[in-house]
Amino acid sequence: MTRPPATAEIPAPQQRERVVTIFERSAPGRRAGTVPACDVPERPLAELIPARLLRERPPELPEVSEPEIVRHYNRLSRRNFDLDTGPYPLGSCTMKHNPRLNERVAALPGHARLHPAQDPKRAQGALELMWRLERALCEICGLPFASLQPSAGSHGELAGLLLTRAYHDDRGERRTKVLIPDTAHGTNPATVTMAGYETVKVATNERGGIELGDLRAKATGEVAALMLTNPNTLGLFDENIAEITRIVRDAGGVLYYDGANLNAIMGRSRPGDMGFDIVHVNLHKSFSQPHGGGGPGAGPICVSERIEPYLPVPRVVRSEAGNGAGPSFAFDYERPKSIGRLRGFAGNFGVFVRAYAYIASLGGDGLAEASETAVLNANYLLARLRAGRAGRYLPPAFDRRCMHEFVLTGAPAKRELGVRTLDIAKRLLDYGFHPPTIYFPLLVDEALMFEPTETETREGLDALADAIEAILAEAEEDPEILRSAPYTTPVRRLDEAAANRRPVLRQGAGGG
C-alpha cells in the first residue's frame, strides 16, 4: 500500500485555497435570479401594508452572479468526502449506495410538483405509494400497522414514546420510567426526557447483550417501555431477546425497537416476531435515502395491534370500490384515540418515493440478500483485521461473530503505541477512507465501530484492512505521524475547543 504524505510541510492543493463565504463574495449590484415584472397595478407597498409592519432595510443577503454561485458551491462540494467517492464504513449509519433511479423517480412532476394540500381524490398515486410502502415496511418488521409521518429516527422514537404514553393513559396507568441499555444511541435517552419519562439504564453482560438479572430487577410496574436496538450498537444480536421482551411485557411495559440496525436482519428475522410493539425504520439507512450531509431522512413506525388506535393522524386508508373499479385511497383524520400530528402534512413524501423504489427494485429476496451480504462483509472485514496488527492493537470489544457491524477497542493501541482512536481515524482520512464511528458505544474504551454495508466489494474491504494495517505499522515506527494527522485534507485538525469557547456562528457576528 502506497503511503500518503505524513508531513504538513507541503500543503495539499485545497489547503492553499483561501476560504471565502458566499457573503464575502458579494459585490453591490450583482445578482443571479430575476423576478417577473409586475403585471398588476404597482401600488406603493405602504398602501397595502401599514408602514410600521414593513421592513426598513433589506436583509443583507449576498449579491452574486449565477456563475459565482455555481463555482462557490462546486468548490465547497470538493471539500467534502462523500459516499460516491470512497468507502464510508461509518458504524450505525448504514452508508449504503444511493441508487440514482430513486432520484429520478422522486423528481417526476407527479411527485415533486404535487402540492400537499391537493385533494386526495386527485393524488391517488401518492396515497397508493404511501399505502404500499406501509405494507412493505409492516411485512419487513412483522407488525400489522404503520405510520410514515415521523421525519427521522429521533422523531420516530418520540412518536413511539408518545404512543406508549397514550397506551398507558388509556388503561388508566401512570408509568414514569423507560429502560434503555447502556449501549444505546444518545437519541434514546434524549427522547425519553422529551416524552416526559425518566431514563433507567440496564447493564450489558459479558456477551454484549442485556444483563437479564438487572433487567428483571428494573422491570417494575413503574416501567412504561423498554427501548432496544437488536442487533445492538455493538453489532451483536441478543440471543436472549425472547426472554427480554417477555420480562418487559409481563411487567406491563411496551416494547420499542430502534430500527437503526435493521439492515442486519431484513428477511431473516422480524422485530414484531421478537415481541416488539413499536419499531421505527430509518429510510435513510436501510432503504437507501441519501444522507445529504445530515438529512433529509424519514423514520416511519410500525406497530402492534395494541398500539394501533393511538397512531398519528392522518392515516392512509384503502377501500375497495366494489363495482369493478380499482381500490381508492384516502386520509383518515377520525381517530379519537390518536396522539395527533407530529408534523405538517403527511411526512417526507420524497423520501417515501425513494424508499419505495428501492424496495421495488430489490424485492423480498433482494432485501434479504442485502442483509446477508452486509453481515458477510462485516464479518469478513473483522476477520481480516483480527489477522493483522489490529488483532493486537484494536481487538474486538466482544469476542464474538458480529452482525452487520462490529466494535473494536483501541485501548491496547493507546497503551502500547500511544495513539488514540481519534488519531487512527484522522490518519485514515489521508488514506482516502472515511473513518468508522468513534468513541461510541460509550461503554467501550476508545471504541471504533465499523459498518461496511453490503455495497462494498471484497476488494474494497481488503483495501480498508490494508490501510489500517499500514497505519498501525506507521504507529509502531512513529506514533507522531498519527497524532498530527491528517495532512492531505482540505483543512487539518480543527480546534473545536476554541470554537466553543468563543463561538462564531454566522458571518459578521464577531465573537458572537
Binding site: I49, P62, L114, G363, L429, P490, Q507
Partner: protein, 441 residues
Amino acid sequence: MLKAIGAGSLDELFADIPAELRLDRPLDLPDGRPETEVFDHLAALASRNAHADSELCFLGAGMYDHYVPAIVDAITQRSEFLTPYTPYQPEVSQGTLQAMFEFQTAMSELTGLPVANASLYEGPSSVASAAYLAIGATGRRRLVASRGLHPHARETLRTYARGFGAEVVEVGLAGGLTDAAELAAAVDGATAAVFVQNPNFLGAVEDLERLAAAAKEAGALTVAAVDPITLGILRPPGDCGVDIAVGEGQPLGGRLDFGGPSFGFFCAAEEHLRRMPGRIAGEAADADGRRGFVLALQTREQHIRREKATHNICTAQALNALGGIVYLAWLGKRGIVELGELLARRTAYARERLAAIEGVELLHDAPVVREFALRLDAPVAEVLERCAADGIAAGYPLARDYPEHPDGLLVAITERRSREDIDRLAESLRAAVSEAVGVAA
C-alpha cells in the same frame, strides 16, 4: 469470504438468532425488478396525481408553488453534497459545514435574530421544538397559541405538549388577526410562551410587536412562526421583540414534494444559544491556522448529553437547507425585496378581483402579502370540484381546520401566477359559484 471468516455457510453467521425467531419463509413482497420496470411502475403511480404543472395551482396553507431555480437542483444533486453523512469528521466535511454556516447567516439576517441553527425537520415540529426550549428556559408549562398559527402546528404542539406535561391554550382571531385583548388575558405568570404566526394562517399580517409586548409583560417568551419569503418586505421578528422565530423553509427553493422533505429553521435571541436544538456550525482554525468550520456547541446534543440534551434530534434536513442558502444567494439582497413586493401587489390584485365576484366576499380585510381568505355563498367542496374541472386548484378549504368558517377558502399567490392566471381563476370561480348557487337553489 466465508473461508476467511471460518464459517461453513451464510446461515452460520445468523446463528445468534434463536431458531424460533428466524423467518422461515421469504418476505411476502413482489420480486425485485429491473430498473426500467421500476421506473415505469413509479411513473404510472405519479401519473395519477394532479400536480402544479398539470393544473393552475392556487394552493398554499404552508407550502407554495414558487419557482425552484435550476441551480438549486444542480448543486443539491452533486454527490459530494447528496451522499455524505452528518459532518462528524470536519476535516473532510468543510463543504457541508461551510454551507451550514452560510445558511445560519442568511436565516439570521432574514429573521433579525442573532443565532440560527442548521435546520430542523420542518415547520410545525419546529414550533413544538420552540415550546421545549421555552419550557426549559422559563420553568413554566403553559403554552398560549393564536388560532392564526397553522392548524398543523397547533396540533403538533398539542401532541408534543403531552410529553412535556404542558397545557396548550388557544386564543381566537378577530377580523383575521390574533385578538390582542384575548391574548393579553390568556397570558399569565405560568405561561412559558406565546405562539403566533406571521403572516398568519388566514394570510393576515400580524402586529408582532404588540403581541410580543403582551407576552413579555407576563415574563413569557414569544415564538413567531414566519414565512421566510415574506421577510424581504415584512419587519423581521427580531426587531419586534420576538424571542424565537421558527418556520417552514419550503418557500425558499424547496420542491412541493407532497409536503416534504423541506426544512425547518430555528432562530433565537443570544441568551437562548445554549438551549438551541439541532446542529450549529461554527468557525474554527485548523492546526496550521487555516480557516475552517466545525459542529459547534455539541455538548447541547443527544450524542454527548444524552438524557440532558436540549433536544433529541439527530438527522435533520441538511440537504434541503443547502437548497435554501443556494436559493437565497440566487435571489439575492434585491431579489427578495422585489419578490415580496410582487407577491403583495399580485395578491392585492387577486383579492380585489375575486372579492368582486357575486357570492364571494372577503373573510377578513386585514393586510395580506401572499395569501388571503374568502367566504363563498356556495358549498366550497362543490366550487372546488368545478374549478378543478377547469384545470384549476382554486384554494384550500378552511372548514376542517376552522369549523367557524365552513364556507372559507384560502387562496395563495406566487410569482408563478400571472395576472392572466388570476383572471382565469376569477372567471372559473365566478362560474363555479354561480352554478353551485343555482344548483343549490
